[in-house]
């Protein structure tokens, strides 16, 4: 009898407690958490968040994780269906995985009904937000547009002696390279080990995606792609043009400073600022460091876009990220997150985002004179965003990336595989992965 009474009492109390809790609405959300990698744009986003707090009273915290651990941390949170974040600024290649596994909410209706899709460049909308490609379904708002570009030493390029020597050696004037062949010649010309100077700095790190991103710039421009319309890879990624592209990248690495065998964005900037290289490739997002006092060659640093391939193909490997909403948070937090994205997507906020140093994907801001003249690299960035190209965004991207990194490193850094063998082996492994995943029916 006593037990029955106790059970009744507990149930009654729980009911009262449940009924007394009011329904939570977006207005009741007082803080929002955004996850992003640890780098300068995340600091800029925090400042945007501070502006949002000043305007709405909702505190926005941008939690930063070092790049090397970022994907692992996000993957763990996805596995736990965690609610540690409300929004995430995720890499473009994550979209397929996040969508098919249900980690992001569908933003299509929200973005189209608010006209947001019309405000950003089509390429960024496609690569950062759309899945599957061409479906018109969007899961991220293009936040930080980014791609690979080049920084170079104008003082070396414009030195009369260098100009005369170069023309005498190669038969054409020394200038910003327009083709990969010219870039190779310039890299060779400036490789003067006895003076401690090397022609070029290229990505070589094989931890995550660096060497693949660097190589892609040549790969795409040489008319290659990671698979054809039917997801076929055999004879696609190892065709002669792609082998030629890999041979060129390997040759470029031979003009790089010793010790850049494990190089990514930081190592590129370091090689440039310590005077070791005449040119470096890097994401535009890391060029602000070169336009600061950290760079002793700041005044003579110029920037240029990716050169063209033998048939005129011009592509830049896409970096950057879009902002998505966590599917596991409650409806009130989802709505509050959408409110933030809607506010963030406004043109004046995007303008402020660009002023702070963020790389906006907003069409109007990108094409404005103010933006183009804001920094010495913005014009190159705006031009680059018209020919960006990304790698796989299917859920199997991680499986595909691993053999890609391994074989590229074997061909470029270790020299244990020749370019043809590396691409043949890579194609075989990619084929096996895509067959197993059901993309290719044998």
């Amino acid at each position: 009898m006593f037990k029955r009474k106790s059970v009744f009492l507990v149930v009654a109390l729980l009911l009262v407690a449940a009924l007394s809790v009011p329904a939570v609405s977006a207005q009741d959300v007082s803080e929002l958490t955004i996850w992003w990698a640890q780098w300068a744009p995340a600091d800029f986003l925090q400042q945007i968040g501070n502006d949002y707090e000043a305007e709405t009273g909702i505190k926005v915290t941008v939690v930063q994780t070092p790049w090397g651990d970022y994907y692992n941390r996000v993957g763990t949170e996805w596995a736990a269906k965690g609610t540690s974040y409300d929004m995430i600024v995720g890499d473009s290649q994550w979209v397929g995985q996040a969508v098919t596994q249900g980690h992001y909410i569908d933003l299509t209706d929200f973005m189209t009904s608010n006209g947001i899709t019309e405000t950003v460049t089509p390429a960024t909308l496609q690569y950062y937000g759309e899945y599957p490609t061409g479906s018109g379904r969007y899961y991220a708002y293009p936040t930080e547009g980014d791609a690979n570009g080049w920084a170079y030493r104008k003082d070396l390029f414009e030195d009369p002696q260098n100009m005369a020597d170069f023309e005498a050696q190669y038969g054409y004037p020394l200038a910003v390279p327009e083709t990969w062949a010219q870039l190779r010649d310039i890299a060779e010309f400036f490789t003067r080990p006895d003076d401690g100077l090397y022609g070029i700095g290229v990505y070589t790190q094989d931890d995550y995606d660096a060497i693949t991103m660097g190589f892609e710039n040549v790969f795409f421009s040489y008319g290659c792609d990671w698979f054809d319309e039917g997801f076929n890879v055999l004879g696609v990624i190892n065709k002669p043009e792609c082998v030629e592209a890999l041979e060129l990248y390997k040759e470029l690495y031979s003009f790089a400073p010793p010790g850049t065998n494990d190089a990514f964005f930081q190592e590129m900037n370091d090689a440039f600022t310590n005077g070791q290289t005449a040119m470096i490739m890097n994401y535009f997002a890391f060029f602000p460091a070169l336009d600061s006092d950290q760079n002793p060659y700041r005044e003579s640093t110029g920037y240029f876009v990716m050169p063209t391939g033998p048939d005129g193909g011009q592509y830049a490997a896409l970096g950057g990220q879009g902002i998505s909403v966590n599917a596991y948070i409650d409806d009130a937090r989802k709505q509050a997150s959408l409110d933030f994205i809607k506010w963030f997507a406004q043109e004046d906020i995007q303008k402020r985002w660009a002023e702070l140093g963020g790389y906006t994907c907003n069409i109007n801001v990108l094409s404005s004179e103010e933006f183009l003249n804001q920094t010495p690299y913005n014009a190159a960035f705006a031009q680059t965003m018209t020919f960006v190209k990304d790698f796989w965004n299917i859920p199997e991207f991680g499986q595909l990336l691993e053999p890609t990194q391994r074989h590229l490193s074997a061909a470029i850094v270790a020299g244990t595989e020749d370019p043809q063998t590396a691409l043949d082996l890579m194609a075989e492994e990619h084929d096996a992965i895509l067959v197993e995943a059901g993309y290719i029916v044998e």
Partner: protein
């Protein structure tokens, strides 16, 4: 005292008093249980359950980030691992690394212990300084050595006599040198550990054994072979056992120095396991199977050592 006790107990009935005493005084068995229980619970939650659960996962195609239940695949993951040439290459790399590294650490550690055995002015300070590397975080050590090995900025090549960076070896990029670079760092870091254990063993050898040997005009080599080595052997074997297990599951140093590269030249099984379990792949089923294979190998190697250790103790 006796009277007072009688008065107190006399207030209550004998039955009630007995129950209260039982309540207030815990039996020895109960106390033991209370102390052990939290440890047992922790052990079950933190060790036993994950161990059994990961064993189950090793027979499934589970991916921790996929929103799908594990699907039973039987021995498929084990078959895939054992029939994959790359996994054997990973095991070969690990074996080569562990063997060379442990042999060098043992030789250098034992050698240093013999040198530091006799006390001299400043020997305490020198011993402490030698022990510093093993107290550092492996990832910090890896980052420092990455700079030391750098052909442009590092001092390593310079100390070897290479003054022209164009002809200097690129330790972390050269496929023939990268594993050696990791071994050098591992030996630098962990030889002091072997030295420490050997020093403990050496200091426990009774002096009269050497005195007796000296009276018998035994040579230094004979004394080393018949007195020093057998006496130190149990502790030396323990050091070797620890270092072998550590070398076999070495992760942080390799990850920090080369990340398994260039390509997969220095990819040990632990690095491969990490790449499979995380790094965009999240192949939880296969990585669990690989973890179990590593566990079995470590247990087998440990058993061999423990047998040798027992034999050494027995003799």
């Amino acid at each position: 005292v006796s009277q007072t006790s009688t008065e107190i107990t006399g207030v209550q009935s004998p039955t009630v008093s007995g129950q209260q005493v039982r309540r207030r005084q815990l039996s020895d068995v109960r106390i033991i249980q209370l102390f052990i229980l939290p440890t047992i619970i922790l052990l079950i939650v933190m060790n036993i359950f994950p161990l059994i659960y990961s064993l189950y996962l090793s027979f499934t195609n589970y991916s921790v980030i996929a929103d799908q239940a594990p699907e039973w695949v039987g021995l498929q993951n084990y078959q895939n691992i054992l029939s994959d040439q790359r996994f054997w290459q990973n095991f070969a790399t690990t074996g080569r690394y562990a063997l060379i590294s442990v042999v060098l650490q043992t030789a250098i550690g034992f050698g240093m212990a013999l040198l530091l055995r006799s006390k001299f002015k400043g020997s305490g300070l020198i011993t402490t300084l030698i022990l510093v590397p093993m107290m550092l975080s492996p990832i910090v050590v890896a980052n420092f050595w990455k700079l030391i090995f750098n052909p442009s900025l590092g001092i390593f090549n310079y100390l070897l006599g290479y003054t022209n960076i164009n002809t200097s070896p690129e330790w972390l990029a050269d496929p023939n040198l990268a594993l050696w670079a990791i071994i050098i760092v591992d030996v630098w870091m962990w030889s002091p550990f072997v030295m420490l254990l050997c020093l403990a063993g050496l200091s426990a050898i009774p002096e009269y054994l050497y005195e007796a040997a000296a009276i018998d005009r035994a040579s230094a080599w004979f004394q080393f072979r018949r007195i020093t080595l057998p006496q130190v052997m149990p502790l030396l074997l323990i050091a070797v056992l620890f270092r072998t297990i550590e070398a076999f599951k070495q992760f942080d140093l390799v990850q920090g120095l080369t990340g398994g590269g260039p390509s997969d030249i220095t990819e040990t099984v632990s690095i491969r396991l990490y790449k499979l379990a995380f790094q965009g792949q999240y192949d939880t089923g296969t990585s669990s199977a690989l973890a179990y294979i590593i566990l079995v190998i470590i247990i087998a190697v440990s058993n061999l050592y423990i047998r040798s250790l027992n034999k050494a103790r027995g003799s």
